[in-house]
Assembly symmetry: C2
Homo-oligomer: 314 residues x 2
C-alpha cells in the first residue's frame, strides 16, 4: 500500500511511519518541519520503502505534483498545529494549520481519486463538560481555536466521505505523550527544571485531570481503527485507563528529574490557559469493541513517557 | 441599540432589518450585493435609523473602520452563501462565504469589544438522518460544504462565547421561504414555468420532504431567541409545523402560476443534487418554550410564500 503521511516527521507522525513501514507499507512522509524534526525520522531514512519530502501541504501545486507522481492508495493526515496554547489568541493559526491543511488534502485526494483517509482529531472538539464522552456526545461547544478548527476539519471529512465516495476514519486523540513530543505538560516541566532545578512553576491549581495515552498505544489505536472500521465514515475515541492530575504529573517529573529540594509552585486558577479544558473523560468502548486495548493506566503512561523522554533527550 | 446586520440586503436580512427598525433599533446594513439586492431595502433607505453600506465583510480593514466609526452594541451575522447547490462542487466557496465571514466578524467584534452576536446557522450541519433533530442531536455529519462551513462557523462562535466573554445566539434555520428569496425550490419552479409554461422539470423523484417556514415567522423566531436566550451560548431550532414534499410544492406552484395543461416531470433519484438532504424533521420545542410559536403548517407556508412572491415579482 502506497501511503502518504502528512506531518510524518512530527511526534505522532514519526511513530506512525515506523509502524506502517513495519507492516510492509510504502511511506511518503511529508512535513514542513514547523513542529516536525528531521531527527525524528533519521533512523528511517535508509529504508527503501520510506521517502521524506519537505513540503507544506498548504502549497497546493507542490501537493498536487506529489499526488501525480506517487499514486497514493491512502492518506494519513496528521499535519497540524498540535500546540493548543500556541493558537489561543489567534483566530487564524489553527484555522490554517488544522482545518485548511485538511481541506487542501481532501481537494488533492478528490482530484486524484484517492479514497481512503485517516484523520487525527481531538477531544477538544467537545469543549468543557463533565460527561463521559462517547463518539456521539453533544453539544459540541469547543472553547479553543484548536478544538474549533479540528471540528471544522471533521465536518469537511464528513462531506468527503458521504458525498464524494471517500472512506474516512477519524480518531479523536486524548493527550498523547512519549518521546519526540515537542510540547505538552511533561516537556514544559522538564524544560523548566532544566532552567531552574530548584523550582517548578505549574500553570493552574494542579487539579486539571485528563486521560494520557502513551504514543505507542495511540499508534495501535490508529491501526485498529484503520483496519476494522466499516462504512464511509468511522469515528472513534482512544484513551488510556483513568485520568491523571497535573499535580501528579509534576510530582512524577520532579521525582524523575528534579532535585530532592525542588519546590512545586502553582499559579492558581482552574486551568493552564484560556481554552484549556481542565477535565475530561473519554469512552473508548467503540474502538475496544474492534479489538484495541489500552495497555496502561494513564498515570503509568505518564511515568513511562517521562522515562522514555529522559532516555531519548528532549 | 446600535446593530450591525451583515447580509442585510439579502432575503432574510432585509426582513430582519425591517423588524429591528420597527423595534426602535439603529441599523447598519452591510452587504456585498452578491446575493443581496438594493431593491430589497429601497423602502428603508429614507429612515433616519437605517444606513446601508456596500461592503464585503471579508474586507477586514473596511470592516474594522466601520466598527471604529459605529460603536455597535450587537451584530446579526447573516452574510453567507445561502445557495447550497451553488457550493456543491467547490471546497472553498462556502468555506469563505460562510465560515471565514464569521471568523472575520468575530475578530472585529473581539477587537472592538462588541459582545452580543446573533448567528444564522442551518439544519444542514446534521447531514442525513431520519431522527427528530433536537439541538443536541449527534453525530453531526454534514453532507454538503454548506453544512460543513456552517458547522465550522458555529465552532468559532462557541469559542467566542465560552472563552472570549461573548454572548451568542445561534438559530439553525430550516428551509425559509417568502418574497425576496433569490433561489430555492419555489423560485426554481416559477422561473422554469416562465421559460416553459407547458412543462415543469423537478429535480429528484419529488419525495424529498422538509419543513418550510415563512420568512416572517423566521424573523419572529430570531427575535424571540435574541430576547430570551440566557448564558454565553444559546442554540435553537425553528421550523414550521410538519413537512412538505417537493411534489406538493410543484403542484402548488403549478396551480398558482402554471397552465391547466402543465406537465410535471421528475428527473428521478432521491435528491435534487449531491449534498441535498432529502428529508429532515426539526424539534423546535426549546424555542417554543421561550414563547415562539410557528404560525403555519409547512404546506400553508408554501402556499402563502408562492402568493407573496407572485404579488411582489421575482
Amino acid at each position: 500500500m502506497r501511503i502518504l503521511v502528512t506531518g510524518g516527521a512530527g511526534f505522532i507522525g514519526s511513530h506512525l511511519c515506523e509502524r506502517l513501514l513495519a507492516r510492509g507499507g510504502q511511506v511518503w512522509c511529508v512535513d514542513n518541519l514547523r513542529l516536525g524534526r528531521r531527527r525524528n525520522i533519521a533512523h528511517l531514512a535508509e529504508l527503501p520503502a520510506f521517502r521524506f519530502i519537505e513540503l507544506d501541504v498548504l502549497d497546493r501545486p507542490a501537493l498536487a505534483a506529489l499526488f501525480d507522481e506517487a499514486a497514493f492508495d491512502a492518506v494519513f493526515h496528521l499535519a497540524a498545529n498540535s500546540d493548543i496554547a500556541a493558537g489561543a489568541g489567534d483566530f487564524r493559526l489553527d484555522l490554517e494549520l488544522n482545518q485548511l491543511t485538511t481541506v487542501t488534502v481532501l481537494e488533492a485526494m478528490r482530484a486524484h481519486g484517492v479514497k481512503r483517509l485517516f484523520f487525527a482529531s481531538t477531544s477538544a472538539i467537545f469543549g468543557e463538560t463533565d460527561a463521559l464522552l462517547h463518539e456521539d456526545y453533544a453539544p459540541l461547544e469547543p472553547i479553543s481555536f484548536y478544538g474549533a478548527s479540528k471540528l471544522a476539519a471533521e465536518a469537511y471529512v464528513s462531506v468527503f466521505a458521504h458525498t464524494f465516495g471517500g472512506r474516512a476514519v477519524v480518531l479523536r486523540f486524548p493527550n498523547v505523550i512519549g518521546e519526540r513530543a515537542t510540547h505538552g505538560v511533561i516537556y514544559d516541566f522538564l524544560r523548566k527544571l532544566e532552567a531552574d532545578p530548584g523550582k517548578l512553576e505549574v500553570l493552574g491549581d494542579g487539579n486539571q485531570s485528563k486521560p494520557y495515552l502513551y504514543v505507542g498505544d495511540l499508534v495501535e489505536a490508529v491501526l485498529t481503527a484503520w483496519d476494522k472500521a466499516e462504512g464511509p465514515l468511522g469515528v472513534y475515541h482512544a484513551a488510556g485507563i483513568g485520568t491523571t492530575s497535573v499535580r501528579d504529573i509534576a510530582e512524577i517529573v520532579v521525582a524523575a528529574a528534579g532535585r530532592r529540594d525542588t519546590r512545586i509552585v502553582y499559579t492558581g486558577g482552574d486551568r493552564g490557559w484560556p481554552g484549556d479544558v481542565p477535565r475530561f473523560r473519554y469512552d473508548s468502548s467503540r474502538l475496544q469493541a474492534l479489538g484495541w486495548q489500552p495497555q496502561r493506566h494513564s498515570t503509568e503512561a505518564v511515568r513511562y513517557a517521562v522515562e522514555r523522554i529522559l532516555a531519548n533527550g528532549f
